[in-house]
């Protein structure tokens, strides 16, 4: 034994594409030494459907259902992104009521998406119950969306110039009633999860990165805010009617998994505030403005973004003045946020890998487009 060196062997571990915690068809090729990760490579593209290419052959209204399939957990916000981009490009006016309905469904959808994050993340960390609790609340939102749009997941609700349907009678009251109910539930989640010593041990100080790093990677949304950088498209580049609402932008301190978790939790509260104000202010009126039957975006290049559930969801349209985009590029926040993972995972163990991956909060439909 004197001369022979005892070295443990490195093992190539293929995590996914089918694995309980890759949230879809993400594949991680990790080189592990024991349980320590030496190198991680991400392989994506298993869900690539060529949305950008398809969009080049579609009229703008026809693209809307395709955006539903990107971040399928927050399809309303995706709808909002594209109609917002086209409206900004065409300088279209949207009726007040439609704007309010948009904001209400978008914020409710943000809550639903964050709820799913909460459930799935805790499931990744080995706690079962929060997942079921979160889904219970998400179910109510899904029901409401079903009533307003006729679909539970892929809503196809918004149109350029307004929204497709007005809210059915009594719908607004349902939303109003949901707000205090959900506030109670949020308190319960905090009781169940936020103070849990085991949970804190799993997420505090794990997967931290600095502000500069986050900016260099182009991270957005909570992944950027968790480093303490106050950046929210709703506030910094106001679109729709977000400038009328008063809400905080929760930021973290250390940019670790705990901060990302707590930002999600606090953002739900802020979204509730916005919804509360919106249902207060909403007036009767038309929900569809004057938009041409066939939308022709004037020739030129446009970029407009909204604050998606996962980060800045941008749409870049190159138009040649026709009814179909010449080039339709999606800035998918999940895709960009995912890039930082290999760097975060190096030197961590397998359990932390899952904690980090879960906290980045990706949707593979959006990553792969």
């Amino acid at each position: 034994m004197a001369t022979t060196e005892l070295r443990t062997e490195e093992m190539l571990l293929n995590v996914g594409p089918q694995h309980p915690s890759t949230h879809g068809v993400l594949r991680l090729v990790v080189k592990v030494d024991g349980e320590i990760i030496r190198e991680a490579t991400l392989v994506i593209g298993y869900l690539h459907r060529g949305t950008e290419k398809l969009a080049e052959d579609l009229q703008y209204t026809q693209i809307i259902p395709y955006t539903d399939r990107l971040d399928y957990l927050a399809a309303m916000i995706n709808n909002h992104a594209i109609v917002n981009a086209v409206e900004q490009a065409m300088d279209l006016q949207v009726p007040e009521r439609a704007e309010y309905l948009r904001v209400i469904v978008a914020e409710l959808n943000r809550i639903a998406s964050h709820l799913l994050f909460l459930g799935a993340y805790l499931l990744d960390l080995g706690a079962m119950s929060p997942f079921l609790y979160a889904f219970q609340e998400r179910e109510t939102i899904t029901q409401m969306f079903n009533e307003i749009s006729g679909a539970r997941l892929t809503y196809n609700y918004m149109r350029v110039g307004g929204v497709k349907w007005d809210a059915p009678p009594g719908w607004i009251d349902k939303v109003r009633a949901y707000i205090p109910h959900f506030r109670e539930k949020l308190k319960m989640y905090h009781n169940l999860v936020t103070g849990n010593e085991v949970f804190l041990g799993r997420v505090k100080g794990i997967g931290a990165y600095s502000q500069e790093k986050a900016l260099g990677y182009g991270l957005s949304g909570i992944n950027l805010r968790s480093t303490g950088f106050k950046w929210d498209i709703r506030r910094n580049k106001p679109y729709s009617i977000y400038d009328r609402f008063d809400f905080d932008i929760p930021v973290g301190k250390n940019g670790d998994c705990y901060d990302r978790y707590i930002c999600h939790m606090m953002e739900m509260e802020e979204s509730l505030k916005i919804v509360e104000k919106a249902v207060e202010q909403i007036q009767d009126g038309p929900v569809m403005g004057k938009a041409p039957k066939i939308l022709r975006v004037p020739a030129g290049e446009y970029y407009a973004s909204v604050e998606g559930a996962k980060g800045e969801l941008g749409i870049y349209i190159v138009s040649d003045g026709k009814d179909k985009p010449y080039r339709f590029k999606l800035r998918r926040p999940s895709f960009i946020n995912l890039q930082i993972l290999p760097e975060l995972m190096e030197g961590q163990n397998v359990a932390n890998m899952i904690a980090i991956l879960g906290a980045v909060d990706i949707v593979l439909g959006e990553v792969d487009a």
Partner: protein
Amino acid sequence: MTEANENKQTTTADTEAAPVEAADKPAAPVKTAAAKPAAAAKPPVEESPETIAKRAEAQKRLDEMKAILEDKFGEGALEETGLQKFQPTLVIKPEYWLPVVTYLAHDESLTFNYPECFAGTDYPAKGFIEVALYLYSMSNGRFITVKVRTPRDNAEVDSLCSVFEGANWEEREIYDLLGVNFKGHPNLVRIMMDDDYKGHPLRKDFSVWEQQ
């Protein structure tokens, strides 16, 4: 010129070729209110004072940026400048691409440190592929678009991975879907399609049927 070169294209692409010309060429001088005949034609011109002010502001910023860059890199660095709606847009010569972006990102007073959107577009009619990068300066709230053009066959651009870590996957995606080679990229392999896939789907002359 365009029809002759791009006979292979589908009919849509053929008809598109001409308007593209119209859409992009005007960007060459300044795309002021007067230079938007197509858009302005439909709704009777009702430019609100707000819009005009915004455009003037954007124009001012564009001129500023242009001056800064020309001062730093000389007249030859910029191919074109213009406004896209309210977005100052600068087309940079390929050989200046990396230094200009590096300068924009790292310079103390500019600090365009946030790559917001990275997109490539194929213009077969004009024979180049354009890579556009939307930059945002978080510290002083400014935004610009920088672009670079590279010939369609033998498309090659310097990689920005050394400036923005986030450029890595975006460049891989553009490489995968548009076939632009990024020089100096640490790991330029396909990202969306299979490794043995042939062709670049987002090129306008790409056809699924030829692929098979």
